[in-house]
Symmetry: C2
Subunit: 107 residues, 2 copies
């Protein structure tokens, strides 16, 4: 199962790398330790609400956008898990097909 803190960490890291910023820069701006930020990005530590907000502030990205991206990814993962359980043999998705096109709606 997709673990929420890993998806959040991935989203934060993606955003930081897209801005070409280092862990050191963002951790300093967010006033969190470099080690903590690194652990959050790798999904090894749960970020508290306050620290998540501070990291998003430092990245100048709304927390709501990070959460939306994460919820979209999670929805795809949930769909995949549902399909894996619900699909009868012979209806497995074509590799690379969009999950929305292959989900078994009758399930």
């Amino acid at each position: 199962m997709a673990v929420l803190r890993r998806l959040i960490g991935d989203a934060l890291r993606r955003e930081r790398l897209a801005q070409h910023r280092t862990l050191r820069e963002v951790s300093s701006d967010a006033r969190v330790s470099l080690g903590y930020l690194s652990e959050v990005e790798r999904g090894q530590k749960e970020a508290s609400s306050e620290l998540l907000a501070a990291i998003c502030d430092a990245l100048e990205v709304p927390l709501s956008r990070v959460l939306r991206d994460v919820s979209d990814e999670l929805a795809l993962a949930e769909l995949g898990a549902m399909h894996a359980v619900a699909a009868p043999v012979g209806t497995l998705p074509v590799p690379g097909a969009r999950p929305s096109l292959v989900v078994n709606r009758a399930a």
Copy 2:
């Protein structure tokens, strides 16, 4: 500022109440203590990724939907905060107006 854990707690509580279920029932199904679930619902405790998933499972609601609802609420709160900072005097929103109609797009 809207604290994430409070919005998540509100969303979980809303969902539970909509299902006419008690704290006791949901905490038992999720295998978390009643006190823990109560604290999470009141935004007094951060739920770990695993326990949040367990609570959503017990409520039979996808975590992605909870997160999406929360991100929508958070986006409105962020918009409100931005507007409060950015709006010149005389452009304050009409009470009850939709935020999307009153935000100062030039800001």
